[in-house]
């Protein structure tokens, strides 16, 4: 897209400023907003997030006009990117602190990483392994490193393989990048992943 207008949804999730900083390097046309008019006017929508699944869902229901958002994503087919918890809430259900319903935009289950005796949360740089080609992952080196910061993730066995673009390994193999039509989710933080993160966001904005 030549001149994207990016709407960054803010539901009090914590890392929206960092995402804003990185996107600002790529385009000046970015706004942090939950306003229906901004969501409708945007060409690209991003849902950031840190913290717990259930808290995020609660805050999303409170502050984001979901009906408007859903229309833009499913009817207008606008490119949508969920980051970290913003990806996890796309699931059918999250199992942190009991069962909590997600948006079910990309069916699957979010549960704790089976890390054996590796410490949790999974904090640090880890590489992803590509399973399928995707428009958001072009121009990457073979196994690029991204910055992860989470204890929960989309369980690989609960997701349709056609949606799994890339996985990462920490105790178990889990979903790192998922895609369904115009909806994308990344478990890592592109806004904290320097060059690799920039390339991913550039790819996303060029859709």
């Amino acid at each position: 897209m030549q001149n994207p207008f990016v709407c960054l949804l803010d539901y009090g999730s914590g890392n929206v400023k960092s995402v804003y900083n990185m996107i600002s390097i790529l385009t000046s046309n970015v706004k942090i907003s939950n306003n229906p008019s901004d969501i409708k006017a945007a060409s690209h929508l991003i849902l950031p997030g840190v913290g717990a699944f259930a808290t995020a869902m609660e805050k999303i229901h409170k502050s984001i006009p979901l009906k408007v958002l859903q229309a833009e994503v499913f009817e207008k087919k606008k490119p949508f990117l969920g980051i970290c918890v913003g990806m996890q809430v796309l699931a059918t259900v999250g199992l942190e602190f009991g069962k909590c319903s997600g948006l079910n935009w990309i069916p699957g289950q979010v549960d704790k990483l089976r890390s054996e005796d590796l410490p949790l949360p999974h904090i640090g740089w880890n590489n992803i392994t590509f399973k399928k080609p995707s428009s958001v992952t072009k121009r990457f080196t073979p196994e690029p490193d991204f910055y992860f910061l989470h204890s929960y993730a989309y369980k690989l066995e609960t997701v349709d393989p056609s949606y799994v673009i890339a996985t990462a390994m920490y105790g178990e193999e889990f979903c790192a990048v998922i895609e369904k039509d115009n909806i994308f989710g990344v478990q890592f933080h592109p806004e904290k992943s320097q060059k690799a993160g920039k390339i991913l966001l550039e790819n996303f904005l060029s859709l």
Binding site: G14, N15, A52, P119, W125, S193, Q194
Partner: protein
């Protein structure tokens, strides 16, 4: 595979980026934001930003520079987070949950507690509940007194009753996400890390430990990885001494086969 991390530490004193030698001698280096720009350009894995000011005056004492003379730590942090496309940990003078909230809102990913944690250990648990363990780093300053390793308080000046292993175990239970372990004796001395100290702590806790204090050459990083279980190595002064320092350090470690990200360059606007 999860990589080990190489983390530059920037020390901020009254608005100046400084060098520190054994927590007692300081030299003004210049503006903190330019240093962050360079660290970003050399693709540092993370950045730790510690405010070691002992009073609240932030002043570069001049207004004829291209970058603004900031008078509040929050403004400096805002400038810093615009430049850093990697995780930032901010520490120094954090007393309340609100202090933490403000810093996270300004772009910090993690915060570091030192004195406050020693004064009120339950604050660690409070913070973990509110913001999550993953954003809490407990900074532990250690000095050898009478042959024993002692955890120091208040800019490394007051001895506590804790030894480093004891305190590290305690903060892990209370909800810390990571530990930043500083050797006061080795600080700025370039003689290598205190490997015994580091080992004693990494053997005692499961949460990641970041080692700091004493790095004088790239080989010291390698030694720490070889002989201890640290998750990350950090250094302050050494990265300010030569150009492309972080890049060269990473190149050295990567080419020797250590599990870190390959050296890379980023162009920052």
């Amino acid at each position: 595979m999860k990589k080990k991390r190489l983390i530059p530490i920037l020390l901020l004193k009254n608005g100046w980026l400084v060098q520190s030698k054994q927590f007692s001698r300081f030299q003004n280096l210049g503006n903190p934001v330019t240093a962050v720009k360079r660290m970003s350009e050399w693709a540092s894995d993370e950045l730790v930003y510690l405010d070691i000011s002992r009073d609240q005056t932030y002043d570069l004492r001049r207004n004829d520079l291209a970058y603004p003379n900031r008078h509040k730590i929050i403004d400096i942090l805002e400038d810093v987070s615009k430049m850093a496309l990697m995780p930032i940990t901010v520490g120094g003078g954090i007393q309340t949950l609100s202090d933490i909230q403000i810093r996270l809102a300004k772009g910090a990913d993690k915060i570091s507690l030192n004195t406050k944690a020693l004064q009120n250990p339950n604050f660690i648990t409070k913070t973990a509940k509110e913001f999550g363990s993953q954003c809490i780093v407990i900074s532990i300053d250690v000095k050898t007194i009478g042959g024993k390793a002692v955890v120091m308080n208040h800019f490394g000046q007051k001895a506590t009753e804790y030894g480093p292993v004891e305190w590290a175990k305690k903060v892990e239970v209370l909800g810390a996400g990571e530990i930043l372990l500083n050797s006061i004796d080795r600080d700025g001395m370039k003689t290598g890390y205190d490997l015994e100290l580091i080992k004693s702590v990494t053997n005692a806790v499961k949460i990641p430990v970041i080692a700091c204090g004493g790095a004088g050459e790239w080989n010291h990083f390698a030694q720490a990885f070889n002989e201890t279980n640290v998750d990350a190595v950090a250094a302050a002064n050494i990265f300010q001494h030569i150009d492309q320092s972080v890049y060269l350090a990473k190149k050295f470690l990567y080419e020797q086969g250590y599990p870190i990200r390959p050296a890379d360059l980023l162009l920052m606007p």
